[in-house]
């Protein structure tokens, strides 16, 4: 660390790379935080955690006992042990007793991406509620046809405010907050949908993972899904650099234009994709073949015939990297797959996972620089190197299954929630001097020292 500071001082290191280095250093040294803890008021498993996107200050949690809480993770509400332990109590807690509270377990709780005035919860009582944070009242209510597993809002969206809802039902619905109605019904999955994620680079692209093992990409401006990920359709390693491909595969990238990547962002979005003829990607060609067989179907719905699977078993969780180029999917076959969104290929990275929880959708987290992915593996949380799949950390702290995790990029902290009703904070180690300062400053008896104590 001192070396980097020295380099920065002497100007050898650019500010951006300095920041990213510090960040990745901190991210790779996470450990259970002793000086900061969240007092969880939940009496059931924590199913969902999210830190707000605007300030990185408020943590929203939803639990199985139909309660939800908001914590201020920057400001401590309470100290213990002579100021050694900072406790964060919920600043907002809503449970079943609340007049608009959910009846059954809350499976998902997300912030409105633009500000912290609203948040959205989805529950097993078939409802999606939109809450006003300040009054803690429900301002909008969507009735879904089945249990809600996940909801998602696009953080990029400027032209729509749609809540994508993954439910027990085979259809993915988009709830429009502006009108209070379903604006879209996306059909294609053959089973309930467990995971839903908006693309990180296009506000129109939605990715869903179903219990049928399929991951489908949708362009919400047109009918049907435009791509189905196939686990057997693979490419080795990271995508080759742009320069090599730019000449040969222009058409290919055009065909996938809705799933924009940073490389293709410069081009204007291409509207017609799947129906265009010419040299095709193998996935595209299959769609075409099927299209020939069933001429009468609308071209956009052709892909609904595609039975390709991304996992053997249900897709439990989806997470796109910050840069929007890659998608991580976790399946009930205890596999984590890394997909190249642009090409729709399985990159064949082998993540060293032994077992994943299969009963509940899980929430994955990726660091800002896409170096590490955090995956709840039964009672522990594992951090894998995104590109090699090697385990870089095993975070052991929960006593029952971990359901969700959430990485706060602002101060490199990780929050995890599990069936043992605890929300744990994992943070990079504090410097010792800080520690000493902290409890020196506070008047109060110094806590019992943690030292060697050999009697003989």
């Amino acid at each position: 660390m001192w070396k980097e500071i020295g380099d920065r001082q002497s100007g050898k290191l650019r500010p951006n790379s300095f920041i990213s280095r510090i960040r990745s250093n901190r991210a790779s040294s996470l450990q259970l935080s002793n000086h900061k803890e969240i007092v969880s008021p939940h009496r059931g498993a924590i199913n969902s955690l999210q830190v707000d996107l605007t300030e990185g200050r408020y943590l929203l949690s939803g639990a199985s006992d139909a309660s939800l809480s908001v914590y201020d993770i920057q400001h401590t509400t309470d100290y213990e042990g002579g100021g050694l332990i900072a406790k964060h109590k919920p600043i907002l807690h809503v449970d079943k007793q609340h007049q608009n509270g959910h009846k059954y377990a809350i499976s998902t709780a997300i912030w409105y991406p633009i500000d912290t005035g609203l948040f959205i919860t989805g529950s097993f009582d078939h409802h999606i509620n939109v809450w006003d944070t300040n009054t803690s009242q429900v301002v909008m209510d969507f009735k879904m046809p089945g249990k809600v597993y996940r909801t998602a809002m696009s953080s990029l969206a400027t032209s729509h405010m749609l809540i994508a809802a993954a439910t027990e039902d085979v259809q993915v619905r988009l709830c429009d907050m502006a009108s209070g109605a379903f604006s879209h019904t996306l059909s294609g999955h053959r089973d309930g949908v467990m995971a839903v994620e908006w693309s990180a680079c296009s506000e129109w692209v939605l990715m869903t993972g179903g219990c049928d093992g399929a991951i489908r990409f949708w362009d919400i401006r047109r009918a049907g899904c435009f791509s189905v990920l196939d686990q057997s359709h693979s490419q080795l390693g990271r995508r080759p650099p742009l320069l090599e491909r730019s000449t040969t595969k222009v058409t290919t990238s055009r065909s996938f234009s809705p799933g924009q990547t940073s490389s293709s962002k410069t081009r204007p979005p291409q509207k017609k994709a799947t129906s265009s003829s010419g040299s095709k990607h193998s996935g595209g060609s299959r769609i075409l073949r099927q299209g020939k067989q069933k001429q009468r179907l609308h071209p956009g719905l052709l892909s609904s015939q595609d039975r390709a699977t991304a996992h053997y078993g249900a897709v439990m969780g989806l997470k796109a990297t910050e840069d929007g180029m890659y998608l991580l999917s976790a399946g009930s076959d205890s596999r984590l797959r890394l997909w190249d969104i642009e090409s729709g290929c399985n990159t064949l990275v082998h993540f060293e996972i032994t077992r994943l929880q299969t009963t509940k959708p899980i929430q994955l987290a990726v660091t800002q620089d896409s170096a590490l992915v955090f995956v709840p593996c039964m009672t522990s949380l594992k951090a894998f190197d995104l590109w090699s799949g090697k385990t870089s950390m095993t975070l052991q702290g929960h006593y029952e299954h971990v359901n969700c995790c959430c990485y706060n990029a602002y101060d490199q902290e990780l929050f995890t929630g599990g069936n043992d009703r605890q929300i744990l904070i994992w943070s990079p180690p504090k410097l010792i001097s800080q520690d000493v300062d902290e409890w020196d400053g506070r008047t109060g008896k110094p806590p019992a020292l943690d030292e060697d104590n050999w009697s003989d």
Binding site: E400, R421, L424, P447, A448, N453
Partner: protein, 638 residues
């Protein structure tokens, strides 16, 4: 560098060996010596601690609760001491807990079940202690504690909370007593004048009574009290000390005002007042003094002055009490008894005056309880009584049995138990009027309990054994019942022949039914004796052998211990010496896992195995089978 590595390895081997040894035992506790050596080895470096942690965690995974239990005990010892150890253990605390508490359903604690439950209790207790001591520094400890307590609802011993509660209770109790004292003090403060007044009036009354007594006393001084010095000068030669004391006493007696019909009223009043003084006022004053001493006040001046006053009052009261006693006011409770007894035993006491113990007399007067005792003793002493009694009484005295004094004399003559058991008149409980106690039981109940007393040795000579010896002559041993060489001592004639045949001989006679000559008898007896002697000798030799063996075993044990010590003190090279011990212990560890076979199990094995059940069903079906065959053969007849 290489050398360091080697050393590290060696140390590792030592730690691992020690831990292995400590946990390889069937005893309920760790061997403190091994524990100590583990501690001292582990202290050296973090590397060894790391190895210890690794090894202990591996031991915790063993499929044997005893091993886990001992490993956990070591972990606890090190946990409370080393910071590095704590850090390492806390990293996989969850695993440790699941292995020691067994809270995961798919990972129950291994056999034997008794030790497994002990392990669980201990693990929970340890976790609590760790949490109270170091919880603040380790989130994992807090988490584990919280999970076991609040989620799984394990019952923690709650040591700290219990101690805190006990202290709280004690504090409350103290507070309460303080309050009570304060209240009492306030009450006392307000009542002080009235108490003073009461005491004063009573004291005045007593004084008046005493004055009256003094005034009405006739001045009878036949012998003017002689000055002590004078007495000594003049009468030293012919007045013994005792006689002088007797005289003094009698003078004092004479000094006292005797109670008679004239001053009886005054005496009664005095007695009443005295009683009041002793039972009420002195006690009350004493109590208030103790209250004043114990009470805690911000301003002590008032209290001190009050205390002074009270102490003065008490002293005053005591002097008055003394005066009353001198005036002949004993504790009134005993006065009635005194009179009754004195009537009966007047002679006895008068007799005692010539016994040269004049102090005893005054004591008797003071403690009339002891008097009755003394007078009873006098009955026993017949010689003393004989002289002055009337002839009938002396005759009866002569006949009467000599009894020790005891509590049974209190109900002398009244039959404690009759044919129906206890007296039933006035008994409120359920009574069985038909119940009869058998006569022998009654006799048994009426027997007086006596203490065994050794009879004097002079008048009873212990008989000689008198059995004929091989070399001629008779055995001259003197034993009470049994001669060690010739058995039970029986009366014998001068040739050593027993006068009464012993049972052994009798049975022989019965078997043979042949008349045996005396010579044969003697031979037989001698043979018997010889046989007995031989048996004794054999036994003696056997004993000797056993003793020798025990001695050898002891020596061997000592050697083992010394070697083991050496092994512990030095390096791993000598570690293997105690190996045979280890294997033996391993066997016993394995044995612990084996279920003890109960009768039920054996029966079950015999009755419930497949063969037996098959046979049983076959037997059951046998008749049925024939019948079915028959039915098949002749369907129309059935």
């Amino acid at each position: 560098m290489e050398w360091e590595v080697d050393e590290g390895k060696e140390a590792a081997a030592v730690v691992v060996g020690l831990i292995e040894k400590a946990t390889n035992s069937t005893k309920p506790d760790l061997d403190p010596r091994i524990l100590k050596s583990i501690k001292s080895v582990v202290r050296h470096s973090d590397l060894e601690l790391r190895l210890a942690v690794e090894n202990l965690m591996n031991l915790m995974k063993r499929d044997h609760s005893q091993v886990r239990y001992l490993a956990l005990a070591i972990i606890h010892e090190l946990f409370m001491r080393s910071k590095v150890f704590r850090r390492l253990i806390v990293e996989n605390l969850e695993q440790l807990l699941s292995l020691s508490v067994g809270f995961r359903r798919n990972q129950p604690l291994p056999a034997p079940p008794a030790i497994a439950s002990k392990l669980r209790l201990k693990a929970i207790e340890f976790l609590e202690r760790w949490n109270t001591a170091f919880g603040i520094h380790y989130r994992q400890l807090r988490l584990g504690y919280d999970y076991l307590k609040n989620t799984l609802r394990f019952q923690f011993p709650n040591l700290q909370a219990n101690a805190a509660r006990a202290q709280q209770e004690r504090r409350e109790r103290e507070l309460r007593t303080k309050e009570i004292l304060l209240k009492k003090y306030e009450l006392l403060n307000s009542n002080l004048p009235s108490i003073k007044h009461e005491v004063k009036s009573m004291v005045d009354e007593i004084n008046e009574c005493l004055e009256i007594l003094q005034s009405c006393k006739e001045p009878n001084l036949p012998l003017s009290p002689i000055n002590e010095e004078e007495e000594e000068e003049y009468f030293e030669e012919f007045r013994s000390l005792e006689l002088r004391q007797i005289r003094d006493n009698s003078l004092k007696e004479a000094d006292k005002v005797q109670e008679n019909s004239e001053n009886k009223v005054v005496f009664d009043a005095l007695r009443e007042l005295y009683k009041l003084l002793v039972t009420k006022h002195i006690v009350a004053v004493q109590e208030s003094i103790s209250v004043l001493i114990r009470v805690e006040l911000s301003d002590n001046r008032v209290r001190d002055s009050m205390l002074k006053e009270f102490i003065d009052t008490r002293n005053h009261l005591k002097t008055i009490k003394k005066k009353c006693e001198e005036a002949g006011c004993a504790l009134s409770v005993n006065t009635t008894d005194e009179g009754g007894e004195e009537d009966i035993w007047e002679e006895g006491t008068s007799e005692r005056f010539d016994i040269p113990k004049p102090n005893k007399q005054s004591e008797d007067r003071d403690h009339d309880v002891s008097r009755s005792k003394d007078s009873l003793k006098i009955i026993n002493n017949k010689a003393v009584c004989d002289a002055d009694l009337d002839p009938l009484k002396s005759k009866l005295m002569g006949e009467a049995p000599v009894m020790k004094w005891g509590s049974f004399l209190d109900n002398w003559g009244s039959v404690m138990a009759n044919q129906r058991g206890l007296e039933v008149e006035g008994h409120w409980g359920r009574v069985d009027y038909d119940a009869v106690i058998p006569a022998n039981k009654i006799a048994e109940l009426n027997i007086q309990a006596t203490v065994y007393e050794e009879e004097e040795e002079d008048d009873k000579e212990i008989q000689q054994c008198g059995a004929p010896l091989k070399k001629g002559g008779l055995c001259t041993r003197r034993d009470l019942k049994i001669c060690p060489f010739h058995g039970t001592i029986v009366p014998r004639d001068n040739q050593g022949k027993p006068l009464i045949d012993d049972d052994n001989y009798l049975s022989e006679v019965k078997e043979n039914l042949v008349s045996v000559s005396t010579e044969e008898l003697v031979k037989q007896a001698v043979n018997n004796v010889r046989e007995r002697d031989a048996a004794k000798k054999r036994e003696y030799y056997d004993n000797k052998k056993e003793m020798k063996r025990a001695k050898l075993a002891k020596v061997r044990g000592h050697n083992d211990a010394v070697l083991r010590d050496a092994a512990l003190a030095s390096t791993s090279a000598t570690c293997s010496i105690g190996e045979d011990v280890e294997t033996r212990e391993k066997n016993s560890l394995a044995k612990m896992l084996k279920k003890k076979v109960s009768v039920k199990d054996r029966l079950g094995r015999r009755l419930l195995n497949r063969k037996a059940t098959a046979r049983a069903t076959q037997l059951m079906n046998l008749g049925d089978d024939d019948h079915s065959k028959y039915r098949e053969a002749f369907p129309n007849q059935w």
